[in-house]
């Protein structure tokens, strides 16, 4: 048995706002092994790694390095103790060369000046030793994403790291780059380095890790030997509902298609196809849920359909008219309403009152104006009405939205978007981070609106309870594609859903035919 070089014991981290990110988590790492740390978004992986890297202080628990209490004070301390972190978002300076980036902060000096030649030589040494094949003289901005990642690993190695945290390293890589990365990780492992590999791609975990530690909602569900586990076992551990919420709703009576999407492609700044040929309809009176591990194109889909961002090819029709090249305002006039992913950035203006937030999409419409001025009385009346209807807890309608709780801010957003007169609603993570009561109210409102007014709804959510409970039809998105369609969301088991979300299964086009 290899030596245990790291142990995190009984780590509990509660954030100031009362959110329990880690509860009594214990795991360990052997020398020369690659350990997978898996769990859904919000499961507490990032927090746990922040504790290890000295970025967060836990309430209880301790970190042992080589059996001794490490007492990591800050990031520099962690680096000094041989811990390195390869961030998902690279910490690099694009216009500088590879060598300069690798040695930034620990620059070699000669005669009081930065010794560039020495830096190049040191970088070349590491690059050759571990077969990275990165030119030390190249500029970061000219490198591919895969090469940038190698630079990031080199930065960690040159500082002498023995334990390396890799935060979803393959999320940005092509399959070929992933293969190459894995070869390097295995080589480094054989060289005595140990890795904590954060990922929710099961096939990758299976390929290079020997053990897996699974987190769910801040709790550790245990560490397992991967040789004893099937992919289905892991999927069941990772994707699961703690409590199954029962949701009463009538069957839908779908009408004509309101939204028609055909062959929609969106390419991001890195040249990756984040939406890869999507085609589907959303019909009046139905709620379409989109499930998927975050970062598989859901946010991009919401951005494209709402006009916040453009797309490369394909067509999107809303109520019979294309939305291509139109502004958010124009698309809203065409019948779209949007509950955006981040309510404080795109949903509400924090310093403005409830009243002002409610009229922000309609102040120009007749009835809201009285001559040149806004019709204050009318607006205050409808604000009172919404506050009552949506049970918005506030001091009064003039209160700045910022001072409300998250759930109540979201209710303000929902109240506005549901009364704007559109017949297509995009609800992107409508209940993220809000209390159970508010979430319940918003979910009910989504379903009621589709049943009573025949609204077409697109519900994007990371909360399985929510997508399974509220949706009529369910799509699963992975890598910018729809990989599964379930005509009746209520009949899907989460185990089955997990297998599609995590890429163990994919429906063929034939299976999905006629369902989209």
């Amino acid at each position: 048995m290899a030596k245990e070089i790291l142990r995190m014991e009984n780590i509990t981290k509660i954030y100031d706002n009362g959110f329990v990110a880690n509860k009594d988590v214990t795991f360990w790492l052997h020398e020369g092994e690659i350990l997978a740390l898996a769990g859904e978004n919000g499961a507490g992986k990032t927090t746990l790694m922040k504790v290890l890297f000295g970025l967060e202080k836990p309430q209880t628990g301790r970190v042992l390095l080589n059996g001794e209490d490490a007492n990591i004070k800050n990031t520099l301390d962690a680096i000094g103790k041989g811990i390195g972190m390869v961030h998902q978002h690279f910490m690099q300076v694009p216009s500088l060369t590879v060598a300069e980036n690798v040695l930034l902060g620990i620059e070699p000096m000669k005669n009081g000046l930065f010794d560039f030649d020495k830096a190049v030589e040191m970088t070349r040494e590491v690059s050759e030793k571990y077969n990275f094949h990165v030119d030390p003289l190249a500029r970061i901005c000219d490198l591919s994403v895969g090469q940038k990642q190698k630079v990031e690993i080199m930065k960690v190695l040159i500082k002498g790291a023995k334990i390396i945290i890799m935060d979803e390293p393959t999320a940005v890589l092509t399959p070929q780059e992933t293969d190459e990365l894995f070869e390097q990780l295995l080589r480094l492992r054989d060289d005595g380095h140990s890795f904590i590999f954060i990922s929710h791609k099961l096939e990758e975990v299976k390929r290079i890790c020997s053990r897996i530690t699974v987190l769910r909602r801040g709790h550790c569900l245990g560490s397992y030997d991967l040789s004893d586990m099937s992919e289905a076992d892991i999927s069941r551990l990772m994707v699961g509902r703690d409590v199954v919420l029962q949701f009463e709703k009538e069957d839908p009576t779908p009408g004509d298609p309101i939204v028609k999407v055909r062959d929609l492609v969106k390419i991001n700044a890195d040249g990756k196809r984040v939406l890869d040929g999507l085609s589907f309809n959303i019909r009046a009176g139905e709620v379409i849920g989109i499930a998927g591990v975050e970062g598989n194109g859901q946010s991009e889909l919401s951005d494209v359909l709402s006009g916040m961002d453009g797309f490369a090819s394909g067509t999107v029709e809303l109520n019979g008219q294309s939305i291509e090249g139109k502004s958010v305002f124009e698309i809203r006039q065409q019948g779209m309403s949007l509950i955006p992913e981040d309510r404080m950035i795109h949903g509400a203006a924090g310093d403005m009152s409830i009243c002002d937030n409610i009229i922000s999409d309609r102040y120009f419409k007749p009835g809201y104006k009285k001559g040149m001025f806004i019709n204050k009385k009318y607006i205050e009346n409808i604000a009172d009405e919404y506050i009552k209807e949506y049970q918005i807890a506030c001091d009064n309608k003039k209160q700045a939205v910022r001072y409300l709780s998250g759930g109540n801010i979201q209710k303000v957003v929902v109240a506005r978007e549901f009364t704007t007169g559109g017949n297509f609603i995009i609800a992107n993570q409508p209940t993220r981070g809000i209390d159970v009561g508010a979430a319940e109210l918003i979910r009910k409102a989504i379903v009621r609106k589709s049943r009573e007014e025949g609204t077409a709804t697109l519900l994007i959510s990371a909360d399985l309870n929510e997508v399974l409970g509220c949706s009529d039809k369910l799509f699963v998105m992975r890598k910018g594609k729809i990989v599964a369609v379930f005509p009746k969301a209520s009949e899907v088991s989460e185990a089955e859903l997990g297998e599609y979300m995590l890429g163990l299964k994919t429906m063929t086009e034939k299976e999905m035919e006629g369902l989209l």
């Binding site: 520099l76 690099q92 930065f114």
Partner: protein
């Protein structure tokens, strides 16, 4: 009109008029490389110009005056850095406030010290930084009169282009400064203090503005005059912007603006065209250059964005 002598003189005046613009451009380059836009060049230069004249007049020593100009440039830079980095005020507002305070404050200080409100020419003894005749070169026709006989600070300005390049490219501090300017999170993740770098960039900016101010009041003319910087700080800022904060590029653009300035001056003397219109040339060409470069850059960015498909 276009005799060899005229060409020589014209070239001389291009280099002379470029001098303050080069300093201002380089000062802007250093701030820009550290990720900040230093709009207070104007005010920093103005303060330095007055400090140079007053201190050299008081001490009777030219070099102490020059040192004072630099010191006051640095102090002004330090005040801005303290306010915006430690005090977390808005950088742009702080810079605008500095410019306004300098415009009024220099006149106020001048009035307190001399009783004059427009210029110190009558009240303070003039000291000018010496001009230098370059042996041999000054005998060459056309070139000689063009590049020989300039004020010492003009030569220092051209040397500074190289010095700033060397600092940014070859020293550890320069490397760290560029890293902070481009990606502060990456820089701080390897233990570089973003705050310290911010301070350093403003102090260095202050040194260059100090030299520019000293040139204006102790070289260009030999007295301080109300509002004598006359927008040169802003032109320097545009030079840095057009050159994407590259020191050599900013130097070239500064010389181009110096050229338009010289052109305006020489046209004014030789034509009946309204002089107000001609005086507009340097500023109009600055604006034009910024717009043209802006269009070129947007088109490039648009091409990159469309490159995906």
């Amino acid at each position: 009109m276009f005799t060899l002598e005229w060409i020589g003189n014209f070239g001389f005046s291009v280099l002379r008029l470029s001098t303050p613009l080069i300093y201002a451009g380089l000062a802007a380059v250093i701030s820009a490389k550290a990720g900040m836009m230093n709009m207070a060049l104007e005010g920093m230069m103005l303060v330095a110009a007055l400090a140079g004249v007053v201190v050299s007049g008081m001490t009777g020593n030219l070099w102490i005056g020059l040192a004072a100009a630099i010191l006051f440039g640095v102090i002004t830079g330090g005040v801005i850095a303290f306010a915006s980095i430690s005090g977390k005020t808005d950088l742009y507002l702080t810079c605008i406030a500095t410019n306004l305070a300098a415009a009024g404050g220099t006149v106020f200080a001048m009035y307190l010290l001399t009783g004059e409100k427009a210029t110190t020419s009558a009240a303070i003894r003039a000291y000018t930084i010496p001009s230098i005749t370059i042996p041999v070169i000054d005998k060459i026709p056309v070139i000689g009169p063009m590049i020989s006989g300039h004020n010492l600070l003009t030569y220092v300005a051209f040397f500074s282009i190289w010095a700033v390049w060397f600092f940014l490219k070859r020293t550890r501090l320069g490397l760290r400064l560029r890293a902070v300017g481009e990606n502060p999170t990456a820089a701080s993740s390897v233990g570089i203090s973003v705050k310290n770098i911010g301070y350093i960039s403003f102090l260095l900016s202050g040194v260059l503005c100090g030299l520019a101010g000293a040139f204006m009041s102790m070289g260009w003319v030999s007295f301080f005059m109300k509002g004598m910087i006359n927008g040169r700080g802003y032109i320097g800022l545009s030079a840095s912007n057009i050159a994407s904060a590259n020191p050599a590029g900013a130097g070239i653009v500064a010389v181009f603006f110096g050229f338009t300035d010289a052109l305006a001056t020489s046209l004014k003397s030789g034509s009946s065209f309204p002089s107000e219109f001609i005086e507009m040339i340097p500023y109009a060409s600055t604006m034009l250059a910024v717009v043209v470069i802006g269009i070129i850059r947007t088109n490039k960015a648009r091409k990159v964005a469309k490159g995906g498909h």
